[in-house]
């Protein structure tokens, strides 16, 4: 087994996903199949190989520090389920 039910539950907690019992069982089987397949990469010796995290070798991208028009508060709030006209409203965090 490349992944256990307990590990699937742990990863789901990290990803903020609730899985019911049926989903946990199904995901465990499917993730195990996928992780068993990707273990194929271990056939390759990459000890001295650099990582590629991006198609082009770029360093930082800078621009002049000038003020440009940006999203208004009204528009920025427009997609939220709940706001008070100034900020996003969420369930109470501090008791």
């Amino acid at each position: 087994m490349k992944i256990t039910k307990e590990e699937v539950l742990h990863v789901a907690r990290l990803a903020r996903l609730d899985l019911d019992d049926g989903e946990v069982d199904q995901m465990t089987v499917q993730l195990d199949a996928i992780l068993t397949y990707v273990a194929k990469l271990d056939e390759l010796d990459t000890a001295d190989t650099a990582v590629t995290i991006h198609p082009h070798r770029r360093t930082n991208v800078f621009r002049e520090d000038e003020v440009h028009p940006s999203l208004s508060r009204e528009l920025a709030l427009s997609g939220s389920a709940e706001h008070n006209g100034e900020a996003f409203v969420v369930p109470r965090i501090i008791g």
Binding site: I3, E7, V8, V11, A12, L14, A15, R16, L17, D18, L19, E23, M27, Q30, L31, A33, I34, L35, Y37, V38, A39, K40, L41, D42, E43, L44, T46, T49, A50, V51, T52, I53, H54, P55, H56, R58, V61, R63, L71, L75, A76, S78, G79, S80, A81, E82, F88, V90, P91, R92, I93
Partner: protein, 487 residues
């Protein structure tokens, strides 16, 4: 012949010669949509009134002598592109009621070029899928055979073009999501070089792999749209500041002096459906006939690309999709009593199964204790895949191959086996890992009458060579103008 069956470039010609107005053209396309959409199911949002208003504006602009390159042409885009004029669902319940506060840069560019935006096209949820069956709202049907898949994730974008429900469309391609549905629906699709086209305002799946590109009726139309959407965008720090040629200029040049590599790993007979192998080999022979030199080459790490991709893409997706927490946009569970409960319930109800599966794989691949074994290892293999291509492009200008191992299959045919679906992406995902441009161009049909595309790949920013070879192939393949019979 129905006016909706002509190409984008031909429609521009008719508008320029005042043989038709944009309003007439738009009405014709809307009628076509009324007739075939019940069978195709490509549109998630159709903005009839808005389209006619834009068409009137386009007609006025043309009268005033200020017509852009696609002025008055009815187009549509995959529902992953942010639009202020209509919803952007990304095929997900998570964004069912979301309307973006700004337009994606490519949408702005289409508008500036005069396009009439008809609507938004169906897709796999968050672009995750190879069949378009993962859409939360609508599964499209292949215009060539209605009980077959369109491919995905840009399935609606390919089906709508193939069914003449728009003159062209835009899709996005993270592991083949433009090229694969284009191949299966018999239309032209290009994934440009990473950084060629802005990703600003495109809902992110895997940020180091995602790229926007056109899906069109022929190669010339693809070049026309590439001219419109390519180029640097200061709003996307990964967009590249490289010069953009006029892609229509070199289309008709011959292929003398061009070397095309045929990677033996892409033609393994146990991998390919015999119809696909035969048709693509015939296509290669036509490229040779057009003047290209054809040599056999090797991309030795091909068999590892699916494994590398299905760690890197989910890892990036798990990070990108963390933003959907019910706070700023997207679905919120209103019964949750704590913040954590709100995050968890909103995400669990908003995301579909495939999205959850990839978030879980990606989170696992990045989690403590597994990062080196999975994400880091895959990123090292990505280097090997990239180097394979660098070696080939020292000897060849282009690589030719199939796009997909098989033609379109039946809807529901592989629905319960995620790994089998992932493996069907083997011929397209290397281009995304290496960031190189690639396209699918129709080259024939299977014995059952399903379209088969030929894939061309080139070195970074060499889209002009792709288009030239594709145009030459199209001229010789004898598939142009062949249309599916839908009703």
């Amino acid at each position: 012949m129905n006016i909706t069956a002509i190409t984008l470039a031909e429609a521009v010609g008719l508008l320029q010669n005042q043989e038709i107005t944009s309003v007439e053209l738009t009405e014709a396309v809307l009628d076509r949509i009324t007739a075939v959409e019940p069978f195709i199911q490509a549109y998630l949002t159709l903005d009839r009134d808005g389209a006619l208003r834009q068409a009137e504006q386009a007609d006025r602009a043309r009268q005033n002598g200020v017509a852009g390159p696609v002025c008055g042409i009815p187009l549509a885009v995959k529902d992953t592109f942010c639009t202020t004029s209509m919803p952007t669902t990304c095929g997900s319940k998570m964004l069912e009621n979301f309307t973006a506060p700004y337009d994606a840069t490519v949408v702005t560019r289409l508008k500036q070029a005069g396009a009439v935006l008809l609507g938004k096209l169906t897709m796999d949820e968050f672009a995750m899928g190879s069949t378009n069956e993962n859409c939360a709202f609508k599964v499209p049907h292949n215009p060539w055979k209605l009980d077959c898949i369109t491919g995905g994730s840009s399935g609606g974008s390919a089906a709508a073009v193939a069914a003449d429900e728009c003159f062209a469309s835009l899709g996005s391609d993270t592991g083949g999501s433009i090229r694969q549905p284009a191949s299966l629906c018999g239309v032209v699709g290009m994934k440009p070089t990473y950084g060629r086209v802005s990703r600003y305002g495109v809902v992110a799946f895997a940020s180091s792999l995602d790229q926007v590109g056109p899906i069109t009726k022929d190669v010339r139309d693809c070049a026309v749209l590439m001219n419109v959407i390519s180029g640097h965008d200061p709003l996307d720090s990964t967009s590249m500041n490289e010069p953009v040629p006029d892609y229509t200029d070199t289309l008709a040049d011959g292929l003398q002096g061009l070397t095309i590599g045929i990677p033996r790993e892409y033609f393994r007979s146990e991998l390919l459906d015999p119809d696909v192998e035969r048709t693509v080999r015939q296509g290669v022979a036509l490229l040779k006939e057009a003047g290209a030199e054809v040599i056999e080459v090797s991309l030795p790490h091909t068999e590892y690309c699916v494994a590398a991709f299905y760690l890197i893409a989910p890892a990036e997706a798990s990070s990108n999709l963390a933003r959907f927490d019910g706070v700023r946009y997207g679905y919120r569970d209103r019964d949750a009593e704590s913040l954590l409960e709100m995050y968890t319930r909103s995400r669990s109800k908003g995301f579909g199964d495939e999205v959850k599966r990839r978030i879980l794989i990606g989170t696992h691949a990045l989690s403590a204790g597994y990062y080196d074994a999975y994400y880091r290892k895959a990123s090292q293999v990505r280097t090997l895949i990239r180097e394979d291509f660098s070696k080939i492009f020292a000897r060849c200008d282009l690589i030719a191959s199939p796009v997909t191992p098989t033609p379109a299959w039946k809807l529901g045919g592989k629905a319960n086996d995620p790994l089998a679906l992932y493996l069907s992406d083997i011929l397209t995902i290397s281009a995304n890992l290496a960031g190189i441009p690639a396209m699918s161009v129709p080259c024939g049909f299977s014995s059952k009458g399903l379209p088969i595309g030929l894939q061309l790949q080139a070195s970074h920013f060499n889209e002009a060579a792709l288009l030239k070879a594709a145009f030459n192939l199209e001229q010789r393949a004898g598939v142009t103008g062949k249309k599916p019979v839908i009703v």
